[in-house]
């Protein structure tokens, strides 16, 4: 049975792909009702994933065929069905199914309906392929594949210039990461025996112990560089907030729950390699911490509900990297488990929050600026309740899913501070900064929740001070996709069941995961059930592990930080009051820095974008006025000579040139024949 369940893993990417194919190219009926084949494909893939999850073992893999075969090198289409992969797979397919169901309601009436679902199917294909791959080249293939799907989905409403800009930015920033990934692969290529780049070989102790240290450090750094792009970490996080230009289900699925976790997955997968480079691990932890703190600090002042959630995603991904970076010494096993556990729980509650935000947006006629609505708890009761569950989980409040996973990460950081010999104090500092970030997280979540759902009721109207004039522009330019998903109905009503049921399901899961953890708590560690699944990961036994029990102190501090944040959020935002405005005035520089996102985009524009543009213009200029002239000048030399020496033959007639060249050939041949 187990063998059968593992062998059918190849169906997991295939089924969504078939769904996408039917949605895009199928008969007219499936194109009109394109959500049906895609939801069915992803749903079935989820069932197969569950089977694989039950049967997963570190050694299990499925060989499907060979893909790119060249003289010295073979890329097998081979899938690894271990614990890490199947946990990711179940999460990805489950969340995708619910998001697709939600989108069937949300995208109703959009002219690009079938394109949307075809792309969603294609995305799930790429994402499942990415986590199933057992080979670095194949991982790279799907790694870029998810990037392309993300590009096409961010730019889904292609008539909007902002969407076009965001899509391009996302793709290019991701390409910069891919560049590092590609170099890492080439480097592995030169050191791997038999050019074998499968996980079995590259991550094995035998391989790693014979590889020179600088190569391991280099490869680890390059892989981490790639991960910072996909998982939106400093310095390459800038694309993710802009990616919110895509339809909200896309933000929920790709830019919160699944694709952005690919970098975390890659580093978790490569942890056997990373433990040979503790310096890189420290860098991972520091980067994660800095990203988490920075983006949380930005999130506290944003007024666009989706942007708050986007920065929150960046921040939570930073948390996962902090955990992975803490995997020094015998914390290694705990670090991987903590990071993947948080990745898993985060996917549920963040997808939930985004979909709830989408539901708000749907009800508000595409308005997402929190200044323009408020007090929606009566009008949108289900959305409000489910958002509350997601928010509490994000804030890390007992006993929801987020509490346990955040606690694990803090535990890993705290342990690393004791274990690490050289950098213990750094991990200690990161631990306290992580706690502070937890406080900020709870605060901005509470702020978003109370501002949207509490206080006196307020619906958006056209004469709001914050109402963007963009709408009129779009109409003037004949943008035929204005109000693109055709919300023809009146605003202010709860979303239809096809949208609220996924919300309820995700909220239920968020609670359920907490309850499952609670079952084994506090004896033997809160996430034991989950940990056992992840421990069935390739080369996991190769990592060092030790006993790390539940730490009451950490749990207490974490909860305290969460409650303090929520309390502050309630105090400032539950009722309209002047305190936030006063605070903003009193800490004006800080407030404005946060509001303007610390001007990072502008900074990149100055140090990267503009220099490249200038260089490009310089090249263009050089080409016209230097290279061309130089070559033409050389070409004129014979003409000048000709004018003075061979003017008779230089008559400018093409025929004589041709004749001349033919004559030359003949002459040379004659010379040859004579000798």
């Amino acid at each position: 049975m187990a063998g059968f369940l593992i062998k059918s893993a190849w169906l997991i990417p295939l089924l969504p792909l078939i769904g996408a194919g039917l949605a895009a190219l199928g008969p007219k009926r499936t194109r009109l009702e394109s959500h049906i084949p895609v939801i069915a494909g992803i749903g079935l893939a989820f069932l197969v994933s569950l089977g694989a999850l039950l049967a997963a073992s570190p050694e299990a893999k499925v060989f499907v065929g060979s893909w790119l075969t060249i003289t010295n090198f073979d890329t097998p289409l081979e899938f690894r069905v271990d614990g890490l992969t199947t946990v990711m797979l179940s999460m990805v397919t489950f969340v995708s199914t619910l998001v697709a169901v939600f989108a069937a309601g949300y995208m109703k009436g959009d002219p690009g309906y079938s394109r949307f679902f075809a792309l969603i199917g294609l995305f799930v294909f790429s994402m499942t392929g990415l986590v199933l791959s057992n080979h670095f080249v194949l991982t790279y293939v799907f790694w870029e594949g998810v990037g392309v799907c993300s590009y096409l989905l961010i730019g889904f409403w292609y008539t909007r210039p902002t969407a076009a800009a965001a899509a391009m930015k996302a793709f290019l920033v991701n390409r910069m990461g891919d560049f590092g990934f590609a170099i890492a692969i080439f480097w592995m290529w030169t050191i791997a025996p038999g050019n074998d780049l499968s996980y079995d070989t590259i991550l094995s102790t035998g391989m790693l112990e014979t590889t020179p240290h600088y190569a391991i450090v280099g490869i680890a750094l390059l892989l981490f560089w790639a991960a910072t792009a996909k998982s939106a970490q400093i310095p390459l996080y800038v694309w993710l907030p802009d990616a919110m230009e895509g339809p909200t289900p896309v933000s929920a699925l790709i830019h919160a729950a699944t694709m952005v976790t690919a970098g975390v997955y890659l580093i978790a997968r490569s942890t056997p390699l990373l433990v040979y480079a503790p310096g890189v691990q420290l860098l991972v932890a520091i980067t994660g911490c800095a990203t988490a703190l920075l983006s949380a600090a930005i999130a506290v002042t944003q007024t666009d509900l989706k942007r708050v959630l986007a920065y929150s995603t960046v921040s939570q991904l930073g948390y996962m990297f902090m955990a992975l970076g803490a995997g020094v010494g015998d914390v290694a096993q705990l670090a991987v488990v903590a990071a993947i556990f948080h990745l898993f729980t985060h996917a549920f509650f963040k997808a939930l929050l985004f979909l709830a935000a989408g539901s708000v947006m749907h009800a508000m006629g595409d308005v997402i600026d929190m200044r323009r609505f408020g007090g929606l708890r009566h009008r949108l009761p289900i959305t409000c309740a489910t958002f509350a569950v997601g928010g509490l989980a994000l804030a890390g409040i007992f006993p929801l899913a987020g509490f346990f996973s955040k606690d694990e990460i803090l535990l890993a950081l705290g342990t690393a501070a004791h274990v690490s010999e050289d950098a213990g104090w750094v991990y200690g500092l990161i631990y306290w900064l992580a706690l502070f970030t937890a406080f900020l997280t709870a605060f901005y979540t509470a702020r978003a929740f109370f501002w949207t759902f509490w206080g006196p009721e307020k619906l958006p109207s056209a004469d709001d001070p914050g109402a963007p004039p963009v709408d009129h522009d779009a109409q003037a330019h004949g943008g035929d996709h204005h109000d693109a998903h055709g919300h023809g109905h009146d605003i202010g009503h709860e979303s239809p069941p096809i949208m609220t049921y996924p919300l309820i399901a995700l909220a239920a899961c968020t609670i359920l995961i907490g309850v499952v953890c609670l079952g084994s708590w506090p004896f033997g560690g809160p996430s034991e059930w989950f940990a056992h699944k992840i421990e069935a990961m390739l080369w996991f036994e190769q990592l060092e592990g030790g006993e790390h029990g539940f730490a009451w102190g950490t749990a207490f501090l974490g909860t305290l930080a969460g409650l303090a944040g929520i309390g502050l959020g309630y105090k400032l935002y539950a009722e309209p009051n002047p305190i936030p405005g006063d605070l903003a005035k009193r800490f004006k520089p800080l407030y404005e820095a946060s509001l303007s996102k610390f001007k990072v985009d502008e900074f990149y524009d100055i140090i990267v974008v503009r220099p490249i543009r200038r260089l490009a213009i310089l090249c263009e200029f050089l080409d016209d006025y230097l290279v061309d002239q130089l070559v033409l000048g050389t070409a004129r030399l014979p003409r000048w000579l000709g004018k003075n020496l061979l003017a008779r033959y230089q008559n400018g007639l093409l025929q004589s040139y041709a004749a001349l060249s033919a004559l030359t050939v003949v002459a040379l041949l004659l010379i040859l024949m004579l000798f």
Binding site: S66, R175, I183, T190, T211
Partner: protein
């Protein structure tokens, strides 16, 4: 099959002559004859493709005399022969030529009305030139076709081109002619070296015989590469002159944007799709195969030029405001990749280069066809004048998107299957140049996405006089995408996806030719570079045979490697 190959090569020429010279043909008849001829040629090329046996060494479909010579005697006394045949290096280029000609004819369907019979005549003559070139097994025959291709293209640009067509045509012609004369000198020197120093003074012009003969000539100086005047280095440079201009390699590329902008769409398709490959094909066939030591000695120079071309071409593309110039500069960048792959001097890079030639032909051919479709409708190619065409021409948007993504080497589309091995092979030989060239991946995505964003995304923006505004009935509506445009581009799109998704059969056909070519290369030069990278690697090399395929075939190779005979 030997006859079939000759027929395939000659059909376009015959049809072309008939079209151009027949009295009283109108445009419709001419284009139908042309389409018929290219379809038949493609059909026959596909028959050859199916009949090709990848497991056989050396040229196939070649007429062979009893004493083992290829082809029929042409100039008897010197043994210059008319010999055609295809091997793994030329097979795909041959098929690509036949395929792109369909796109070229289809893209001219409506846009060419002036002197159409002559236009199609030149186009078909150009096809024979290219097919003959790739199938030539004799250096003189190769050279004749090499020069011959210039003539039809010269007239296509000069007569049917844009406003500056005269200047473009003359620049193009003189530029390439200058280079090819040096190449001729190089080719003749090769023949002379082989004649003077081979055992028994063999005077041969046959490409296969020269390749094997030159590897074992009894002349000590031939194997020295210590100075610029060493024979192999010198001959390499002579050969290189013509091919580098054709490719075109930085800094000899300036004729290309000019020629492309002025050329009619079909001219651009063939020029970028096939004619540039004449350069890389020559580099493989002559420079790499016949002067391998020269190639190894000059690797630093060639790699520098190639990498400079990759980056410089991409940056220049980024600065363009005319979309056709943008695509032209993208060719400079992408051809740099191919040259880098060829001179990586290992099977990985060469495999990538062979398939990348095809990929580049498909994607760039498609991009030029799309640009032509836009120009036919709006009579502008300025990015600033256009926008949001996705809403107006969704089929064009799909084509353009696929071609651009394929060109940007997105996995599961064709570009990746070439670019990735090229960079991997180059990394083995010279990590620095591979890393620098890989930045071209980012820049390449940058200008292609920029182009897509300008042309397809955003609110619809069309030049004045091309709106379908109901209030103004004077202006003709923008023509929807026609059947001939779909017919011309669909095969390219299918292949762009197919090569990306299932590259094996495509790589398989050229595998043996690549292995044979790599065998003749100086292995020490290749092996030394990665050792520099990683001292501890020597150990792992001993434990694991890294190139099982190669070593196996060395044992059975009929033409032994350099070291054995010397």
């Amino acid at each position: 099959m030997a006859t079939l190959l000759v027929i395939t090569i000659l059909i376009p020429l015959i049809a072309g002559l008939a079209t151009a010279l027949a009295p009283g043909l109108d445009r419709d008849q001419a284009r139908k004859i042309a389409l018929g001829a290219v379809v038949v040629t493609l059909g026959l090329s596909l028959v050859l493709l199916v009949g090709f046996r990848p497991e056989i060494r050396g040229p196939q479909f070649a007429f062979q005399t009893l004493d083992g010579h290829y082809g029929w005697a042409w100039i008897a006394k010197t043994d210059i022969r008319v010999a055609f045949g295809l091997d793994g290096l030329s097979l795909w280029l041959f098929v690509l030529t036949s395929l792109l000609m369909i796109t070229a004819v289809c893209s001219s369907w409506e846009s060419v009305s002036d002197r159409a019979p002559q236009y199609y005549g030149f186009l078909l003559a150009l096809q024979t030139g290219l097919l003959g070139l790739f199938a030539s097994l004799d250096v003189v025959l190769f050279y004749v076709f090499f020069e011959f291709t210039l003539i039809p293209l010269f007239f296509l640009i000069g007569l049917w081109g844009g406003p500056k067509r005269k200047k473009a045509a003359v620049t193009f012609f003189l530029y390439t002619l200058a280079g090819s004369l040096l190449t001729l000198l190089g080719v003749i020197s090769l023949v002379a070296v082989n004649y003077l120093y081979s055992r028994g003074h063999v005077l041969t012009f046959s490409i296969p015989e020269l390749t094997s003969g030159l590897a074992v000539v009894q002349w000590d100086d031939w194997y020295k590469t210590n100075s610029w005047t060493s024979p192999q280095v010198l001959i390499f440079l002579l050969l290189f002159a013509g091919f580098a201009i054709k490719v075109p390699m930085f800094p000899f590329h300036t004729w290309l944007p000019l020629a492309h902008v002025e050329a009619p769409t079909a001219g651009s398709i063939v020029l970028a799709g096939v004619l540039l490959k004449v350069g890389t094909y020559g580099l493989m066939r002559f420079n790499l195969a016949m002067t391998p030591l020269g190639s190894a000695a000059l690797f630093p120079l060639i790699a520098t030029l190639a990498v400079a071309g990759v980056i410089y071409g991409a940056l220049a593309a980024l600065a363009q405001t005319d979309v056709k110039r943008l695509v032209a500069y993208s060719s400079v960048s992408h051809m740099g990749f191919i040259v880098l792959g060829i001179f990586a001097m290992n099977a990985t890079g060469l495999d990538g280069a062979v398939i990348q030639q095809i990929n580049h032909g498909l994607t760039t051919g498609a991009l030029f066809a799309c640009v032509g479709m836009i120009y036919d409708r709006y009579h502008t190619r300025q990015l600033a004048d256009l926008g949001g065409l996705w809403s107006r021409l969704p089929v064009l948007a799909l084509f353009l998107m696929l071609a651009a993504m394929g060109s940007a080497a997105v996995p599961l589309l064709c570009g990746f299957t070439g670019e990735f091995p090229i960079l991997a092979g180059a990394f083995e030989t010279s990590p620095r140049s591979a890393v620098l060239a890989a930045t071209g991946m980012i820049l390449g995505a940058a200008y292609l996405l920029w182009m897509l964003r300008k042309l397809l995304f955003g609110p619809l923006k069309e030049p004045h006089g091309h709106t379908t505004d109901a209030t103004n009935g004077h202006h003709p509506a923008v023509a929807p995408v026609g059947w001939y445009e779909i017919a011309g581009l669909s095969p390219l799109m299918i292949l762009i996806v197919l090569i990306g998704v299932y590259p094996r059969p495509f790589l398989n056909q050229s595998k043996l030719a690549v292995v044979d070519l790599v065998e003749t290369l100086p292995q020490s030069a290749v092996a030394s570079a990665p050792a520099r990278l990683d001292p501890a690697r020597a150990r792992s090399l001993d434990q694991n045979d890294r190139t099982p395929v190669l070593s196996a075939s060395v044992a059975t190779a009929p033409a032994a490697s350099l070291g054995d005979r010397r």
